[in-house]
Each structure stands twice: as C-alpha cells, then as structure tokens.
Symmetry: C2
Subunit: 371 residues, 2 copies
C-alpha cells in the first residue's frame, strides 16, 4: 500500500489527527477558554487548520520562522512563547509593520526594559506577557515575586497579562498528579493576574498550557486561553501518561527491513535516529518504549516489538526484554511503522508528512524547520 513512498518517511493518519483535534477543541470550547494551538510540533499550515477547524486563528510559536510562515498563510494573532531578547526585535517589528499581532514574553525586568526600549526605538507597541514559573521546571517569575509588578511597570500599556507552561506535567505518574499540576498551573497565573490588576494592570491575557494539563485540568476558571500542541499527533510519552491511547497516535515512521541478525533476534531497518529522533522520553516512564513501538504496515503494534537501539540510519528491532523473532514475518524489503516517543522531536527530523486515510497515502503536506 506504500509503494509510492521511499523509506524512511513520516506518515500522518489524518483521521486520528482530526479526532485528536476535535476532542481538544470541544473540551476547551465547552470550558469557555480560547484554544491557541502550539504549532511548533506540526510546523505545517494544513495541520494548524485542522487544529483550529478554520483557515486561520490564534496560534502559539516557539521560533520566529514560524510566525513569518504562518503570517504568510493568513494567521495574524501569534504568541511567541520563548523569552524575547532585543536581537529578535527587528523580525518581530517587521511582522508587526506588515499587520501581524506578535505577542512576546519576558521573565525579568532586564528583558522587559530592553524590550520596551527596543520597541520605542522601532516606534511600535509590541504586546508582552510576563512568563510565570508554575512548577520550577524552566523559565518564569515565581508567583508572588515582586519582580512581576516591576516587569509590568517597565512595559506600561504594552503589558497584556501572564502565561505559564506546566512542563512538569510530563513527569507525572498518575492522572491525579497531572490534575494537581494543572491546578498549580492555573492558580499560579490566576493569582498573578489578580495581583497585577490590584496594581492597575488590566492583564486580560491569562494563558496556560501543556497537553497533559489541557487534557485533565479540573478547572479553567480565570484562564483566558490554553496553548497545547502535542495532542494533535499524540505520542508514546502521552500514552505512557494516560493522556491518550497508543491507538490515538497519528504519526509513525515508515521503514524497510534491511537485514536480519538471526543469532541475536534482531530485525534491522532503515529507520534509525535520523528518522525517529534521539528522543528517549519514555525511558523515565513505567514502560520504556526504546526508540519506539513497532507496528506492521497496517499501523497496528506487533506484540512486544520495539526499536531497542538506533544508529543514524539503522534501527534495531527486537522483542522488549528479548525473545525469539519469527523472521519469516519480516522479509528483506518489507515495511514496518514505528510510533514515536515524542511527536515534536520525530516530526522535526522530516520535511513532509505523508498523509494516510484508511491507511492509503492520499497527499503530502510540507513542514519546515529552522529559526
């Protein structure tokens, strides 16, 4: 069924994509919050349109190449969710001049001041959010830290509110734990926004996001928008967290069997880390999926087969924990599919998605990388 596709290649099951996107959209809309999908995972306008069920809409990005590309495809309301620095102002200013609304983020008075100065020099108002640190995981100002008010003061009417990312949700070992992280995420920004408003900063934007917390949060009270990206494709890390089932994973890497190591019970394929990525996100989960779960060409997992090791253009497929392989099932040149640990990392290794409907290739969607 895949004769037209050279291996290795990235496959995207469009029915699963549509189902994953509809589910998240309905959940957030029924909770009265705006969905601002993170397009860093897909980096593809067609996927973003499925996520929004519209030709354009509010999106989140993590590089400046993304807003440049998406603006050229009709997207206007874009949050650049990585700490802004003065050197990046010219590209944001250029997009702003062309009619985009690029909201930026900062987490220090130093960055806020330099951004305010740069915007003044460029004679334009660049909207800014303060990044709040809701879980000690990465960037942001801790809730209650007086520097938050100083940031808002430095930005004046460019200041639009607060955002946070509960990256720690990826490390949870139960849905209850994810719910607790989600509540901490919500609480951190809602309280921060309240403190800002008490000091005269309207702070209309209260933004949270991660696929696990977006999926399981018990409440979005006080939240204005949710940013999430991985849910479109889902992946083995999300399945390991209970966020989705393995059957919801829309991405897979198609590879060819190129060799048999019978003495070791290894099937060797041409889908190595260049096609799968080096991401080992399930290594710290209850079930370590190696470099990915191996499926037949029909996309159904083959009992216990995982990619146990990956070289640049070689994947080594074996039973989890060892055991005999029936090599007659995997002749040289036959096709396998590998479900990814981490959709963002695996997709980034490819320049296009081969779209499947009913397991038949129907189209190719381009994606891009770079900054």
């Amino acid at each position: 069924m895949f004769e037209s596709i050279d291996t290795p290649a990235l496959l995207l099951d469009v029915e699963k994509l549509e189902r994953n996107c509809a589910r998240m959209r309905e959940r957030l809309h029924s909770n009265g919050v705006v969905l601002r999908p993170h397009v860093k995972t897909a980096k593809c306008v067609e996927v973003a349109r499925v996520a929004l069920d519209a030709p354009a809409g509010p999106i989140t990005v993590s590089t400046l190449r993304e807003p440049e590309y998406f603006f050229d495809h009709g997207f206007r309301d874009i949050l650049y969710a990585v700490g802004m620095v003065p050197g990046k102002v010219p590209r944001v200013a250029e997009l702003t001049r062309r009619g985009a609304r690029i909201t930026t983020i900062v987490d220090s008075v130093e960055a806020a001041q330099s951004l305010a100065d740069a915007a003044k020099k460029a004679a334009m108002r660049i909207p800014v959010l303060a990044e709040i640190d809701s879980d000690g995981h990465r960037a942001g100002i801790a809730p209650g830290d007086p520097r938050l008010l100083a940031v808002a003061d430095a930005l004046g009417d460019a200041f639009q509110g607060v955002m946070t990312h509960a990256g720690d949700s990826y490390n949870c070992d139960s849905i209850e734990a994810i719910r607790a992280v989600a509540e901490r995420e919500r609480d951190a920004v809602v309280k921060s926004a309240a403190a800002l408003r008490a000091h005269g900063h309207p702070s209309p934007v209260v933004s949270v996001g991660s696929t696990p917390t977006a999926t399981f949060a018990a409440s979005f009270r006080g939240v204005s928008e949710v940013r999430t990206g991985v849910y479109m494709f889902q992946d083995l890390v999300m399945a390991g967290l209970g966020v989705c089932g393995v059957d919801d994973i829309a991405l897979s890497v198609l590879g060819s069997v190129i060799g048999h190591q019978r003495g070791k019970n290894w099937v060797v394929t041409d889908a190595g880390w260049m096609a799968l990525s080096r991401d080992r996100g399930t290594a710290r989960q209850k079930v370590d999926q190696g470099y990915g779960v191996v499926c037949g060409a029909d996309g159904k997992p083959i009992e216990d087969l995982v990619v146990i090791e990956a070289n640049q253009e070689h994947g080594i497929v074996a039973r989890r924990g060892g055991g005999a392989i029936d090599f007659a099932r995997f002749p040289i040149g036959s096709l396998l599919r590998v479900l990814p640990n981490h959709a963002c990392a695996t997709a980034a290794q490819h320049g296009e998605y081969h779209l499947l409907r009913d397991n038949d290739p129907i189209d190719v969607w381009e994606r891009f990388n770079g900054w």
Copy 2:
C-alpha cells in the same frame, strides 16, 4: 562579532575543519589507503571538498538523497553504506544510468539474490559489497560464516569485496581498547576477503571505517579504503574517547541568553534540543557533558558550564554538579556557544553552517537533510 546571525545557529570554524581534514588525509595517505570520507555528517559539498582537498573524489553516503546531491556536484564514485533493498534499486539505477558508480552493500543471501534479480531486470550491473560484522554491534555477516560465500556467489561479477564498520569503537574506555577494536575490524574484513579470493572472488575492495579506529589503528595491512566522517568536525564524544581535544571541535551552536533563574543558578538560552539535538552520547562516558559544553562567544569553554537540560527551544545552562553563577557575565541577549555531543546529530538539526575564520563569520554553506 555575530550581529548578522540570528540565534540559534550552527557555527563551523573553518580552520579547525581544515586542520582535522588534513590530519586524517595525511595519516591515511601515508598508510597507503584510500580515504573515502563519509559525507552523512556534513551533507554539504563544500565540506566534502575540504575533506578530499579536491573538487570531487570517492565518498560514502547513508541515504539516497546524498548520492543524488553529490552526483549533481561532480562526485561519481559513491558507496551507499546501508543495507540495500529492492525498493531502492530504481533510484540507484537512475544514478547509474546517468554515469555514477553507486556501490551498495548487503548482509544476507536473501538481499543479495533480490538485488541481483532487480539489477538484472534493470539491465545494469550494480556493484555490491558484503557487510561484515566485526563487533556484534549492528549489521553484517560474522567472519567465517559460510553465508558470505553464498552472498558472493549470488552476486557473481557484481560482487566487489567486503566492508565493515566498527561502531563498537564508540564505547571504548581507552586508546588501547580502540586499537584492539581497530585490529578486530581489520582482521574481520581481511580474512573475509582472503576466504572469498580462495573461492575465486577477486574482492578488490576491503573497506573499514569509524573515526576512532581510523585515528588509532596500528595497521591497515590488507585494507583498501577507510570510511570516516565525524573527524571533520569532531565532537565531545570523540574528545571523551581521546580521539581529539575539545579544542579541535569545529562545530558549535550559537545561542542567546534569554533568562536567568537566579535561585537555581540557571542561565536559560534559546538553544534547546531543536538546535543541539537530543543526543546524549557523553552520558555513558567518564565525563557526562549534558547536552554540551558551554563556551563564550570566542569559542573558549567557560569553566564547568554545561547545558544540563534541554527543552525544544530552551537550554538550561549551569555548572556541572551545581554551584554559583556570576549572572553579570551573562546578560540577557548575550551570546554563548555550545559544543555538541555528537556532530552528526547536531548538524542534522540545521539547514546551514555559518562559517567562521578567526571567529568572524565569512560565509554560509547550505546543508540538506532527508532521504
């Protein structure tokens, strides 16, 4: 000095590249073996020309996009060093028709027979090597396995000899251990070629290769050519093995400081795993370099600073093992450079090399990815 470069970006110190390439070329030429550089690391015609010190020459590739690109740039003698399958014959046949000599590899009678059949159907002779397994690491026929002769017999006069890759050299803990792996690598192919010749297969090609074994092998007796790629750039894994010094590493990722987490002694940058890759090749070495060694903009390592954690577009820089950071040295917007664990993986995350000479950007060389 890097005002013209948006971060994150991949830098290539051309003097280090030239020095690394000249050193390997001189070593192999003085040993009387052909250097067939592996261009999978660089995927860039300008880098290959530095490696060969010539406009073209024999090369090794790991995808079919590589020979298509390099043939268009004047390269003719190309070894595709990943097990061949029938589905890939049309692209190899097309290049062969256009005048390229694409040598392929197989490690089973099944693959040999199907390749012979496909070549016959395409009415062309595609040269083939048998892959020998010299270290139990990946693919190949074990030395002494009678299937080797059956492979050669199945291929007839398309059969050209043997090749192996001592991937296990990456796991050595001393130079003596690398020398032992190199001798095993040499011995495996030299003995295999002798056995083939005794049965009437001339087997002119006896090919070995890995950067550690190419660097330290005590003898290349009986070897016709050496394939090696990482040496051009070098990396922290090679430095950890003693193959090079940290000062020989020609690649680095330029990033901007985007935040400070003072309570945790973290400097946050915009060089995350998207720019650095997810490769953690030094994790199993004596010194774990995290996601890379952090240097100033001048390319000199800053005492004990490594990237301890990486998100997609965020790198977290801290002292190895913890310790106070003097944040005044790393203002928001200032530049850092990160030396890569694994040159192949880090380069693959980028679309171009920003060339430096005397630490000044002098040019941009394009590179490609994909299959």
